[in-house]
């Protein structure tokens, strides 16, 4: 029989000596923690907040830049293809965005890189590309995500990437190179022009050095043109560039239209199981025309707000002057999860309605569907 007391003990993970020691020293710093004083010497030594120092910036193209970051003590290892949350202070406000790590985990200097493209109207990406200086500190999260090559199976990868969607593929390629285990790889990369292609030189160099790596770059714009003239992804092009795509595991990362076209094609061919997708933004389902919003009651704050059927509840709360917890703002990290106390909300990614009272909902990707009450 299980003794409730005993099972309680086993459920509690045993704390390391270091954790117990710092819990003791924290009593000297109460209500702060020892780490609040340690960070006076070096912000990277803080235990209560993970930060990274920008140690190098490198312009890849005219509108993209690679930031080399030195993470703090409690950083952990990552897998090639995973992403990380970055907190960027802009005009005094800390914004959080998610970026894929573009360096391989085998890198032995303890640093990692992110490669950011300044997207149109993207204030944060512009700030990262143009204004962040070497020596500044950024808040970071731990590496997350399940977009990586499996260790257990010798898959033959097909990378289909576009624009800054190259970053996870780059990390995976460099990782395979570092391990000296280049798999039979085909890579289709879309960029507007050759001069826009991030990592262009490095990819070409790898192709020359590695017979197993087959690079096909597709430039979608003619020089001097602003509108795209050549097609993006289509079935015939895929057959031509990679005839054996059905035997491969496909890893795709890029803007929404590319991902949608690929999903459609792979579904038609019954190959969806072999398609692995990393999204830049939450993919939103179409909201039916008859959908209506309602009044959202944030019970803890005692605030009521009118919301339409397409605005994320997080945004509604912020517009109402609240500052609820949040992280990625795209449904990945669950920092914003809260309890639905009554009513109904719509998951904007799937379009499905959630009306189970007491269920956890992610406010960054859910909108009101009629009146609802939240535990915020």
């Amino acid at each position: 029989m299980t003794d409730p007391k005993k099972s309680n003990n086993t459920a509690k993970p045993k704390r390391s000596f270091l954790a117990r020691f710092s819990a003791f020293t924290d009593k000297f710093a109460y209500p702060l923690r020892t780490s609040h004083y340690v960070e006076l010497l070096n912000p990277l030594w803080a235990g209560h907040a993970l930060r990274a120092k920008v140690v190098k910036v490198w312009d890849e193209t005219k509108d993209s830049r690679t930031l080399t970051l030195k993470p703090g003590f409690n950083w952990r290892g990552y897998r090639a293809g995973q992403h990380v949350r970055i907190g960027v202070p802009l005009n005094g406000v800390q914004y959080t965005r998610t970026y894929t790590i573009s360096s391989p985990p085998e890198r032995n200097d303890g640093l990692f890189t992110i490669t950011v493209k300044a997207i149109a109207d993207g204030r944060i990406s512009h700030h990262l590309v143009r204004d962040v200086k070497v020596g500044s500190f950024l808040a970071i999260g731990l590496p997350q995500g399940d977009f990586y090559l499996p260790d257990s199976r010798p898959v033959k990868p097909l990378f289909i990437t576009a624009g800054s969607g190259i970053t996870p593929a780059m990390s995976m390629l460099e990782s395979m190179l570092a391990k000296d285990r280049m798999r039979d790889t085909v890579h289709i990369h879309y960029a507007p022009h050759e001069f826009d292609a991030i990592f262009n030189k490095r990819l070409k160099q790898i192709e020359i050095e590695q017979p197993a790596y087959n690079l096909n770059q597709v430039f979608t714009h003619e020089y001097g043109e602003h509108k795209q003239t050549k097609g993006y992804f289509h079935a015939e092009q895929l057959e031509r560039l990679c005839p054996d795509w059905r035997e491969r595991e496909t890893y795709a990362c890029g803007p929404q239209p590319l991902i949608e076209a690929m999903e459609k094609h792979f579904t038609q061919e019954g190959m969806l199981r072999h398609l692995h997708i990393e999204r830049f933004s939450a993919q939103l389902a179409e909201i039916p025309k008859e959908a209506v919003g309602g009044t959202v009651s944030f019970l803890k704050s005692g605030i009521d707000a009118i919301a339409d059927a397409s605005t994320a509840l997080l945004r509604v709360a912020e517009d109402a002057g609240m500052n609820p917890p949040h992280g990625c703002r795209m449904g990945i990290c669950h920092s914003c999860s809260t309890t639905l106390l009554s009513g109904c909300v719509r998951d904007l990614r799937t379009g499905k309605l959630i009306n189970d009272i007491g269920s956890k909902i992610q406010t960054c990707v859910c909108a009101a569907a009629g009146n609802c009450e939240l535990d915020l």
Binding site: L32, H36, Q94, N323
Partner: protein
């Protein structure tokens, strides 16, 4: 007394505020203040963030430095046999260390803790500086203090029977509070409250006075009592047990070899420094806060006056019920910018570093609407407060 006469003029049952303004004029006044508020909100930015981060860093460095100096002073106790050991060196170091620690505690409570807990920095969305998660260096738990301060005191400022901060339930600071023989000794209570101010604030919310009158009150406040007790214990453990004890542990090997001071002396020195630092903080915060609503010419209000109060009228009441203290830049920072009490009460959630720039504008606005703006030197404000405490101890 000017105030007294004016307040006598008003019928107790009057619902009007003691200003010569029509309702539309008051509303117009409110709109002007709203516009000022919007302007500051729109202009908050990187500079403000830099300011609060710098203050936090300075505060923590000062605190650490103070503790290190107090420890260093132990090494200069005359009991050591080295050349530098002398009571002069010891006293200089321990005094400086205590002052530094007290300054750090003051900064933490005033410019950082009080203002962070008002949500003045929530807009930065910095997870480390949020009113909902900030715990301050004070025996009163943050959330409980928010309850009695932000909600009760700031909403019901100077409304008799509603604002818990009128005399802190202990003192008679207005002729409109009914006199009881209890108040005869109030100069003594005021002095004790100054020395133990931190504790006074912590138990304020518990309304211990009710324990004698209402039987069920003890039952009601038990959870509060437990939370406050836990926080108090942690603060006491830190300042009065752990830090003195660590000093003893560090010097013990030398004591055993017969070259160091006695462990009791070491413990006592560090303990005394901590007690003094806490008391200095209490006296300073008391000084600033008592000058906020108690000096001469401050107004008090009846419940009838605040019935169905509009936001503009609330603004007027905040102006009539608060007092500023004149001073230099450092003085304002050390007082947590509560020397701009009027601006703080009008805009409790705007970043405190903006109050100095707002003050002359608010003052000019007040003059235009002929609303009294109570700003004076520390001597005048505290002097009249002390006078009131003595005067109102009698009927």
């Amino acid at each position: 007394m000017n105030t007294k006469e004016r307040q006598k003029d008003i019928d107790v049952k009057s619902t009007r505020l003691p200003v010569d303004l029509s309702d539309p004029q008051i509303e117009e006044f409110g709109r002007e203040l709203d516009a000022m508020r919007e302007e500051v909100i729109d202009s908050r930015g990187a500079k403000d963030r830099k300011y609060i981060l710098a203050v936090i860093k300075a505060q923590r460095s000062l605190g650490l430095l103070g503790r290190i100096m107090i420890y260093a002073s132990i090494l200069f106790l005359p009991a050591w046999s080295h050349d530098l050991a002398s009571s002069t060196n010891f006293w200089v170091l321990i005094t400086l260390g205590t002052l530094f620690l007290a300054t750090a505690k003051i900064l933490e409570n005033m410019e950082i803790g009080h203002n962070v807990l008002h949500g003045q920095w929530d807009w930065m969305k910095d997870p480390n500086i949020q009113s909902s998660s900030w715990e301050w260096n004070h025996v009163c738990p943050s959330d409980q203090w928010i309850q009695s301060h932000n909600i009760k005191h700031h909403t019901w400022t100077n409304v008799l029977g509603k604002d818990p901060d009128i005399g802190y339930g202990l003192l008679r600071v207005s002729s409109r509070q009914r006199w009881r023989p209890f108040y005869l000794l109030q100069p003594l209570y005021a002095f004790l409250l100054a020395v133990f101010f931190e504790w006074g604030i912590a138990i304020q919310e518990l309304e211990l006075g009710k324990m004698l009158k209402i039987k069920k009150h003890t039952e009601k406040i038990r959870p509060l009592l437990q939370r406050t007790g836990a926080k108090m214990m942690k603060q006491i453990t830190k300042d009065y047990i752990l830090w003195p004890l660590l000093a003893v542990v560090m010097t013990l090997p030398f004591t055993f070899s017969g070259i160091g001071p006695s462990p009791f002396a070491v413990f006592f020195c560090v303990l005394l420094a901590n007690i003094l630092a806490n008391i200095l903080r209490n006296l300073w915060t008391y000084l600033i806060i008592f000058c906020g609503h108690f000096p001469k010419d401050v107004y008090h209000f009846t419940r009838a006056q605040v019935k169905d109060e509009s936001r503009a009228k609330w603004y007027v009441r905040q102006m009539l019920g608060s007092c500023n203290i004149r001073g230099g830049k450092l003085f304002h920072i050390m007082s947590g910018n509560l020397s701009h009490q009027i601006e703080h009460h009008l805009f409790p959630d705007l970043p405190s570093n903006r109050y100095p720039a707002l003050a002359p504008r608010v003052r000019a606005l007040a003059e235009r609407y002929k609303i009294p703006y109570n700003s004076a030197s520390l001597t005048r404000q505290f002097g009249t407060t002390i006078w009131k405490i003595f005067r109102y101890s009698f009927p």
